[in-house]
């Protein structure tokens, strides 16, 4: 067994058990239902802002446009506006493709050797799977988050209802199966298996890679359990979540299954964990210098932002200092 994913798995299971026992045995509904979610939200907002400001303070001295396109130069060489933008409009296009469609990941390729008549021949192969899983995973997650607005708004806004209709269009069972939940769980499992099964990826994976994946799987599993298998009283759940959203928190009478508190605890953990982990890529993607800077190095002068004033002594000054001596030695001078 690999310690990195074993420890992460143990951590997630333990955290789940702690919250379950905390509610079911110790009766700490207030702690897990009110204090933890608010604390997580505060940590998320403060941590997120702090992280972004820290990144904002980091100077980016040069344009580092990793490109796969032709830079803007002379009119008769075709300029690649998206891959090598020369202005803000192009940068917005490149960023939009990156953020909405994960374009860099789409270019994912694999290097390997093939055997051609006894010789090893290097090959580069386009591999689409990681991009596909990642895109499905992220969009399923987004849909799931937006769908959950039904618990945090009253009346529920129209777009949530529309999303629910589209998401549940298969009309399987009652309550109807949401595609996003199934896809989210399936893709998270694939992303986890990828790190466990592929030797090269496993070699570079650490606990900080497994933990968030397992946590998200934990969220998906508890959510799916509550919706389809071990039903909870949704009305009571909404009473609690609306209390949180209207800043009048209360624990509903009659109580809610401890499974709900495990779900809520996992979500709170994930929220609080984002600013301190790789999950901060949700903010970081906007600050990628290789994506958000126009390649206008030839058109605009960029001065290194941490340059300090350098003492200079120009040739003119040098000549002023030594003009007479230079003349005596027969050296040419520019000014007489």
């Amino acid at each position: 067994m690999n310690a990195a994913y074993l420890y992460s798995l143990i951590a997630v299971v333990l955290l789940g058990l702690i919250s379950y026992a905390g509610v079911a045995v110790a009766g700490l509904e207030g702690f897990f239902g009110i204090f933890i979610p608010y604390a997580a939200l505060v940590l998320f907002v403060a941590g997120f802002a702090n992280r972004i400001v820290t990144w904002g303070k980091t100077p980016v001295p040069f344009r580092i446009p990793t490109t796969s396109g032709q830079q803007k130069s002379v009119p008769w060489i075709k300029h690649d506006r998206l891959d090598n933008p020369s202005n803000t409009v192009g940068v917005i296009g490149r960023m939009a493709l990156e953020i909405l469609l994960f374009r860099s990941l789409f270019k994912n390729s694999r290097v390997g050797f093939s055997d051609v008549g006894g010789y090893r021949k290097i090959y580069y192969k386009w591999v689409v799977w990681l991009w596909l899983f990642a895109l499905l995973f992220h969009y399923a997650f987004l849909v799931t988050v937006v769908r959950h607005l039904r618990f945090f708004t009253e009346p529920v806004p129209f777009f949530v209802g529309m999303l629910e209709t589209v998401d549940g269009m298969m009309q399987v069972g009652a309550p109807g199966v949401y595609l996003s939940g199934v896809v989210l769980f399936g893709m998270a499992m694939l992303l986890l298996l990828r790190r466990i099964v592929l030797p090269k990826v496993k070699y570079i994976s650490i606990a900080a890679d497994y933990f968030p994946l397992l946590l998200i799987i934990g969220i998906a599993v508890t959510g799916i359990l509550m919706r389809y298998f071990v039903k909870v009283d949704v009305g009571a759940v909404k009473e609690l979540t609306m209390g949180l959203a209207t800043l009048q928190p209360s624990i509903p009478e009659g109580g809610i299954s401890a499974l709900f508190y495990v779900h809520l605890f996992f979500v709170s953990l994930l929220l609080a964990y984002i600013p301190f982990s790789k999950l901060m890529h949700m903010g970081g993607v906007f600050l990628s210098p290789t994506r958000n800077l126009a390649n206008n190095s030839r058109a605009v002068r960029h001065v290194n932002s941490w340059n300090y004033p350098v003492k200079t002594h120009t040739y003119e000054e040098y000549e002023d200092d030594f003009r007479e001596k230079m003349k005596e030695a027969g050296l040419p001078v520019e000014k007489e």
């Binding site: 907002v45 997120f48 802002a49 972004i52 400001v53 904002g56 303070k57 980091t58 100077p59 980016v60 607005l149 039904r150 618990f151 945090f152 708004t153 009253e154 009346p155 529920v156 806004p157 949530v160 209802g161 629910e164 209709t165 009309q171 069972g173 009652a174 309550p175 039903k231 909870v232 009283d233 949704v234 009305g235 009571a236 909404k238 009473e239 609306m242 209390g243 959203a245 209207t246 800043l247 009048q248 509903p252 009659g254 903010g283 906007f286 600050l287 932002s305």
Partner: protein, 128 residues
């Protein structure tokens, strides 16, 4: 800080979107809706199963009932305690719970559940 204006603007927009539930619900409280039971439902005291169970799992039960009637032609449901009930949304469920607007819809609207029961079933009492 470099590009301060853009970065701070982005952060502020993100936090405003994040806080959507807080400003959307500002100044109101939304307790769970009170359900109104008809006199007939009050007299019966108990649905086909335990109330807590019905609250959580009625949708699944109704779904199983639909398959039971439509596919197997079986219209008899035997509850946990052995009582027999005729499987019919219109004639059994809605016989007691004839007040759809004050019973079914209140919870369904609250949790944004949109069951398609009434795409086919209709109720004469309700003059839509």
């Amino acid at each position: 800080m470099y590009d301060k204006g853009k970065i701070v603007a982005g952060l502020v927009i993100f936090f405003i979107i994040l806080a959507f539930p807080f400003w959307y619900n500002l100044g109101q409280s939304s307790p769970a809706p009170e359900l109104e039971l008809t006199d007939k439902a009050k007299q019966a005291e108990k649905c086909v199963e335990d109330t807590a169970l019905m609250t959580r799992e009625h949708m699944q039960l109704l779904h199983e009932w639909r398959d039971s009637v439509a596919r197997d032609g079986n219209r008899i449901y035997v509850s946990e305690n052995g009582d027999e009930h005729v499987i019919s949304l219109s004639d059994t469920c809605m016989d007691c719970h004839s007040n759809k607007a004050d019973f079914c819809d209140r919870c369904h609207n609250y949790v944004s559940a949109d069951p398609y029961c009434w795409d086919c079933h209709t109720f004469p009492e309700e003059n839509n």
